[in-house]
Amino acid sequence: MRGTLRTTAATSYSVHEIQSPAGAVVREYVSFAGKVFAITWQGRWPPDMRQLLGNYFDQYAQAAKAQGRVGTGRRPLEIEQPGLVVQMGGHPRSFRGRAYVPDLLPSGVAAEAIQ
């Protein structure tokens, strides 16, 4: 892959930041137990959600489709399920979002810390 990696350590997890040559940024939040519990992204286009979410993609896609059937309108994406939260907003040339698994958050880490 291409990109530059930067790692920052917090008290109960570390953040791996990868920046693509074109400037897109993806951050992974990794617990000291080695589990990725959250991802954030920011860039000109939305990320490839299949690559980003891996095994969680099908759950995401199903929830997103179900939500698309409710009402009409263009608005930020907000999927909040017991096992998965996915949020994304923006417009062409600027999107940002985050995904996390609430059950995997290290104790004492609030969702607000995932930026």
Binding site: S20, E28, W45, L52, A64, T72, G89, H91
Partner: protein, 406 residues
């Protein structure tokens, strides 16, 4: 979610050129005076816009207008209503199911049709790039690339369909008129194929209706164009003018889409200029003590105020997932900061979305929902305001383009 090693090989969508920067330059703060909210009713540069539920009669807080498209250089034309007016994107997109004209197809250098995948948050648009003359009010742009939305003419590649949210084809409009800050929908990023693994390419060439489409570079002129920027007059921007919504909700409201800023007697600049980041189109907003830098935008194509808040949400299984459902109307305020150093406070209110959507009203001034990490000033922001959108690459009064003003 996945094991970290695997994730580290993940690849992303493409570049945000301007990251967390908050723009450049200082400047004076604006005064707090409220600019006039006037609705220009006549003029060759004035198109009517309505918040009326749209062609399907089910779309709250979305504004619609009428455009005429013609086979280039001919009088073979079609007038299409129910076109969503969108300050969050650039370019004209029309559903192939409503288009009766046969427009010339744009072709790549090898003769294959050019097809586009443009991601929005709530789905991508997919379909061929075709050429049309475009007329709105009495303004005309000749022979420009537009997108014809069709899921059946060509097969959308996986690199398109896995971008963002799966598209359900439910646009709620006959098309989208993107009158945002940019002259093209993509810009210099799309001039070459991005080859870093996983980087997204919006433009493709497709050898046949069943072939696997391949990414293609498009010059700025070949990309889908903001039609306003190509009008022969009044091409430096637009003004969206809507009256305030009486009592917070009305069945419908009508306003004006005025072309040009400071080019005619009816489109003088009034209000404060908020310069936008020329890469992202964003400015900054401070809310509840938190600064959202380069993460704020004004989008008539978003049907509510969307921002981070602890206000109770309607619930993921309700009819308004992601919207706010407070038990009583919340009166809020945020401060916008332009990249040119201007700042000003915006007062707004959030009411219960389920209560609002239970009525027959389509103009809802207190509709809002959640957006983590930024501020999306959607259509309710436009009620009671004249909002100016100055397009990149041209001169407009009041400051460096691109900018928003209100």
């Amino acid at each position: 979610m996945k094991d970290p090693k695997k994730l580290l090989i993940l690849i992303f969508a493409v570049g945000l050129a301007c990251g967390f920067s908050t723009g450049c330059g200082g400047g004076s703060s604006s005064s707090g005076s409220t600019p006039a909210n006037t609705i220009t009713s006549t003029g060759a540069n004035v198109a009517s816009i309505s918040v009326n539920g749209g062609p399907a009669g089910n779309y709250p807080d979305a504004s619609f207008t009428t455009v005429t498209v013609c086979v280039p250089g001919t009088s073979t034309c079609q007038t299409i209503d129910g076109i969503l007016v969108d300050t969050g994107s650039s370019g004209l997109r029309i559903l192939s199911s409503v288009l009766t004209l046969s427009l010339p197809q744009q072709k790549a250098s090898d003769g294959n049709p050019v097809v586009e995948c443009l991601p929005f948050v709530s789905g991508y648009t997919w379909g061929p790039v075709q050429m049309a003359d475009v007329e709105i009010a009495s303004e005309k742009a000749s022979s420009l690339p537009i997108q014809v939305l069709s899921d059946s003419d060509f097969v959308a590649p996986a690199s398109c369909t896995s971008r963002g949210m799966p598209s359900d084809g439910n646009l709620g409009a006959n098309g989208i008129l993107g009158v945002g800050l940019f002259a093209q929908d993509c810009g210099s990023y799309c001039e070459q194929v991005q080859t870093a693994a996983g980087d997204f390419n919006p433009y493709y060439e497709c050898a046949s209706s069943t072939a696997t489409c391949q990414a293609v570079g498009e010059s700025l002129a070949q990309q889908v164009q903001n039609p306003v920027a190509l009008f022969s007059t009044d091409h430096n921007g637009v003004i969206l003018e809507f009256p305030a919504v009486s009592g917070g909700e009305e069945a419908s409201v009508s306003g004006s889409l005025v072309f040009g800023i400071g080019t005619q007697s009816n489109n003088a600049l009034s209000g404060t200029v908020y310069a936008a980041d020329p890469a992202t189109g964003n400015f900054s907003t401070t809310y509840n003590g938190t600064a959202y830098s380069d993460a704020s935008f004004i989008d008539s194509g978003s049907n509510g105020y969307f921002f981070p808040s602890t206000i109770t949400q309607c619930g993921s299984t309700s009819n308004a997932p992601g919207f706010y459902c407070p038990s009583s109307t919340q009166n809020l305020s945020a401060t916008n900061q332009g990249a040119n150093g201007t700042s000003g406070t915006v007062d707004f209110s959030i009411a219960n979305a389920l209560t609002l959507s239970g009525s027959d009203d389509f103009a809802l001034s207190n509709l809002g929902g959640t957006f983590s990490g930024g501020f999306d000033w959607g259509l309710p922001f436009f009620f009671g305001r004249n909002v100016y959108v100055a397009i990149e690459g041209q001169g407009a009064p009041g400051g460096t383009v691109p900018y928003w003003a209100y």
